[in-house]
Subunit: 204 residues, 4 copies
């Protein structure tokens, strides 16, 4: 399966699960490292109907390589920043739980997810006895500024597997698309779990 | 795909997602502007089994054009009011979250949804830094009175993308059916998000 | 479609929607009135795999007519009581919301659902401005006693469309299976709505 | 259907229902009692794509019998402990509700589920008037220690149908895979019910 086929299949699956409603969400994967070529979803499309023809190819600066015409996702610079930091695939989803937790915890700049077995689904985590920091950045429509903030954050927190943008959603990634897709499932599960847990009573 | 095919397909999809259970929900789209002809769901049908044959054609006063026999949706006058104000398609759904928020906020006549990235899925909204007013009108079985109230509301709030009827559901619209369907997804997502957010603690 | 085909199809659909998990739920429909013959689900079967062969035929006393061997649902006497009171089909589901509301409101013997547009999906209800009483009876394994209590309740509350058994589930009915199935959808929607509404703050 | 076919089908179904996301969950069934041979899911696989080829065969000590290469589930020793105590099949799922209730009630070492009709879906339970103890054990990555604790717990509570591991998930079992799968459905329903019930107000 090509990157374009897999990306469009994932987009439709995430739409069906409520993580990429409307035109929300954008998804990318490295095609080649040297020189860097990235497959990425086009801007503003309905994710329930995405087809491989809706996947564009960009370079290391986010510039369109092919087809001749097309508008890459508005958040292309964030994908490029995360891929340059080492990821092979980047998935950005908008779920209800990521949206509301990104707002609830904005004052602390993030929150920990700690002690859950499901954390072992994150690459490199071998035990539930782990504290995973989920940073939250303020939302912005200035993509250069936001990408710069994300670069700083990735530099500061080297072991994270994802982050939230306030009232916006989740970014996660992996060495390849399968790993990144697994991280979406794992983090969405954990976000719903900590969100519901906290509604039962204060957790700590 | 004809308007009738697309409307019946949407109805079945919304039923499956819990937004048009039983015989609830009604849906319309402009076929032609001059003179105005509108495709609209017939009254009181099970939305899980809607077929193109269940879509009727009405004129600018909501009077049945064809087929010879048929009963347009009881809420036809509301659809006509919204279409006359400019919409190309109108979708009315009954979800749990729209129902309970329309009751919770009735005292204030509506509520704002503010600061969510997903707002950009609404036509014309370019930034999350937007305050979307969701007006709420009291429910009534007097459709002439309710249509009159809706006309006044559309006149007062010119930039809204939808409104709620108390303990009843959501009306939204768009320039065409695709845009209106996207607005349903976007607003249902936002209603669930603000509803759950508020259950974590007071928001403001 | 025969009653047996329709009943087994409904059972699988309700299982899929979480309203008849495990072997829970039982469903019946009148085949003939004079003399009374009823199609009913056999006892203790997995509803996800129900087939028309799992539907039995019983008489007005709940006695098996055919096939020669078979064990009608343990709650057969309740179905017979409701059908004798006039129903053409009876559906009993076990959802999370019916289960917890039947426990929460047991002290008052029931609760009202009032002012919801969706109430109009109940047979004979023409306006949202309606108070629907949902009686709750204590659960029991003595089916004769429970059927007797249900007969008394149907006699006392002549306009109800369903009732709950405590920590057990919903009984609803209709003139035929389509109407009864619509009542399940309508009441499940309303139970979830009043349940979630009440978690936002006291309703009255 | 072979054990391997049924186990991989169950894994895909549980993934779809949100009970085995990512690589979480593991499932086993006895192939033969004397000498003991067990079919069990391989370690760390994506449950949405499990196929019969991903099911391994182990002996009474959890040692791989076939194929020649393969890594049985990390929690193999827990499956073996439960099967040696009499079960014919063991299913371990990770749902949101089992995860958060296992954390909420850890201080008491478990909690009772009491008075629910759905309890009758558990093998041997004939009435809703039953108190089912759900023990909770602390999570650990030391599988020998955890298996030892589970053996002690099964010895102490002889009539339980499942237990939780803190912030981890549910173990349940049955005489065969059908019974074990029914127990998953029943217990997941009950966990969601008691979790939501408790959020309405204190239960006892």
């Amino acid at each position: 399966m090509t990157e374009a086929e897999r990306l469009s299949e994932l987009a439709r699956d995430f739409h069906r699960r409520g993580w990429a409603l409307g035109t929300s969400g954008n998804f990318s994967a490295v095609i080649e490292r040297e020189p860097l070529r990235i497959a990425i979803t086009a801007s503003s499309l309905d994710k329930s109907r995405l087809s491989p023809a809706d996947i564009l190819e960009i370079d290391a600066d986010g510039v369109l390589l092919k087809p001749a015409q097309g508008k890459p996702s508005a958040e292309t610079l964030l994908h490029v920043a995360i891929i340059r930091a080492g990821a092979g695939a980047v998935l950005h989803t908008h779920s209800v739980w990521s949206t509301i937790l990104s707002d609830y915890h904005i004052g602390a700049g993030g929150f920990f997810i700690e002690g859950y077995e499901m954390l072992k689904g994150l690459e490199g985590i071998k035990t539930h006895d782990h504290r995973e920091w989920i940073p939250i950045v303020e939302n912005s429509q200035d993509m250069k500024a936001l990408a710069s903030e994300v670069r700083g954050m990735l530099d500061e927190f080297r072991n994270i597997h994802g982050f939230l943008i306030r009232r916006h959603g989740l970014y996660t990634w992996g060495n390849d698309l399968d790993e990144a897709a697994r991280h979406v499932e794992i983090l969405e599960f954990l976000l719903e779990s900590v969100g519901r847990r906290q509604m039962m009573e204060p957790q700590y």
